[in-house]
Symmetry: C2
């Protein structure tokens, strides 16, 4: 693993929802800013499916800006001069955390022998990391998309350990359509003979093509139809007329191919299988007698739920269901549906209305907690 | 080719939009009912991407009902006691018509040497078949989805040869999002090593896995999110609890896998590449100075445009654009947006409101033409 990836080894074994226990778990992480003396200024950022712990500044692996560096950093909306920002690579991930690429107790690469994990398992690992670091409570937990699922899981399972929950462009359970898209991606990976039934590391291959197709299919769901139309329409790629062939005639094809090709350079195929599966399995109410309100019943902090009007991956109706359940549970929840044509990806983009609202929410909560 | 497939060999060469000329073209077809003595009762049905000429009664290849047998047949809405119904397998298809599976002039299988075709090429072939059959004009042309594109192309290019145009769940041009989904499908096929750069017939292989993934991705776009939710939700497949594995836990996964697996039994992978490409290339206004109204300017017949509220593959807004342009061109167009949660597939399903409207439209037009 790259020397640029910081690793924390959990002090205790990690129990998983499937019943398995991982005796040895490493968590890749990054932090920004300083923990204050009374340990009240920590914010945990939860990343999305294809994200990682490099949320701010420059990602030392890709040398590109961290995926939320527009929002998090010195003098940014989430000001790392004030807050201590933690982001951990999710359990099952491929940026330092234990996952299918890791070796089991016998030194053998897990591959498909890695246990199937859940969003709760990811959160349980984060919680144990905070135990190990002796940080009793967080100021805030913030996450978008799959990061929002983790945030909601925190609200349900560790309601006393943090003050603010910010769940962005997410859902309390994965829809049938989203499961279907994930299944297409998994089938694309597993159809690639280079996948080698999951043992591609030992066989020194990699399912580039299958993973690229998976990413392409997923990427369409991250953008709205109108954003695709605005960005590409039917514009041709470096040509004046249709080529009557199967090269990328249209800019949108070229763009998608690029998305697929660049993804395989930074992501592991088996991690993709495991993380999409964890998202499919996410159904927060299921462990609370089927009532989402019950999941939020013990949270006394402040919640903020944000959705984007053109997001069809996690549509505003998913967020409204969260808000309804939170309100019924007596949670102080601020909710915002941002008008935008940018689709699901809006949570990562420059959305001034969203950013203003997030800033106001965090500032007010920070005053309430006496943070400076 | 199966003896159950009727073949018509075009008498003249077929000129293609790409500039190539196919000297020898065969068209797979099926007919239902009898052409009347003055040849005024013929209806051409145009099939969709994955359709074929077996529109009514029993499909002799699959032994299943024809894909629109609920609507077309003796005493049905389109009554084959009254009408002579023609359906041809599209050029580039795999049910008898010349396409990438066919042999070229030297007896070599075309594969990717088959020229890239367009919707207009498909329609030109249909038009030549009518010439050969000496049917001067049709009572109606009806098509849904890609069949609707063909119908619109008929309106634009052969406006004098038919009286009624029924375009269902379609668009005058393919959107960026639809091009993107098609590109995912094509990449999935071409990523399969069994595809053999298109020469799988010679190599005695078939890209089953790639084609199945392509079909799965496409199939999601044919259903609405709410239909998937209603039909499957998060229901588990033959199990009481999550299996913590990568088998099909959810019914929606099992359903999609079935859709993919059954598709490869009846469809050719290269045909899928060519037909999706033809759809991507479809932009009816492009050949009419960019003005859709110009495309409809010479049609003096009756038009009917139907869309379905939850169709996100060809959303109602696409149909509204057609209707606007037709009205501006002075076309007598009846338009209907059917409220349904069944998504794009609604055009093939039992939709009483749609069927009643179609029946009324055809009956009125039939009276106008003095058909009995």
């Amino acid at each position: 693993m790259s020397k640029n990836i910081k690793i924390h080894k959990l002090k205790n074994p990690l129990s998983l929802d499937c019943g398995a226990i991982l005796k040895s778990v490493e968590i890749g992480y990054e932090t920004y800013g300083q923990l204050n003396s009374n340990k009240t200024n920590a914010i945990l950022i939860c990343h999305a499916l294809s994200g990682d712990q490099f949320v701010s500044l420059t990602n030392p692996i890709t040398n590109k800006p961290g995926w939320w560096s527009a929002v998090i950093g010195p003098d940014k909306l989430v000001d790392t001069n004030k807050y201590f920002v933690i982001c951990t690579n999710v359990l099952g991930g491929c940026m330092g955390s234990t996952g299918p690429m890791s070796e089991d107790e016998n030194g053998k690469i897990y591959g498909l022998n890695f246990p199937v994990i859940t969003i709760s398992d990811m959160v349980r690992a984060q919680n144990q990391l905070l135990d190990d670091w002796e940080i009793p409570s967080l100021f805030a937990i913030i996450g978008g998309s799959m990061g929002g699922m983790q945030t909601l899981d925190w609200v349900a399972n560790y309601p006393d350990r943090f003050f603010c929950a910010v769940a962005i462009a997410t859902a309390a359970r994965h829809s049938a359509q989203n499961i279907a898209f994930h299944e297409v991606g998994r089938q694309a990976i597993m159809a690639d003979p280079e996948w080698q039934k999951g043992q591609y590391i030992e066989k020194n291959t990699f399912p580039n093509k299958g993973l690229a197709v998976a990413r392409m299919a997923a990427h369409i769901t991250y953008m709205s139809d109108s954003a695709l139309h605005r960005k590409f329409g039917r514009n041709l790629q470096n040509r004046d007329a249709l080529a009557f062939g199967f090269d990328a005639d249209f800019q949108v094809e070229s763009y998608l191919r690029h998305q697929g090709a660049s993804f395989v350079d930074r992501f592991d195929a088996n991690s993709y299988l495991y993380i999409t599966r964890a998202m499919d399995y996410f159904d927060l109410a299921a462990n609370f007698d089927g009532k989402l309100t019950n999941a939020f019943a013990n949270f006394k902090g402040r919640a903020c739920v944000v959705s984007f009007s053109s997001d069809w991956h996690y549509p505003p109706s998913d967020s409204r269901a969260i808000v309804r359940a939170m309100m019924a549970a007596g949670v102080h929840v601020s909710a915002l549906e941002v008008e935008t044509d940018k689709g699901h990806d809006a949570f990562l983009l420059d959305e001034p209305v969203f950013h203003k609202a997030l800033e106001g929410f965090l500032d007010a909560a920070s005053k309430e907690k006496g943070l400076k």
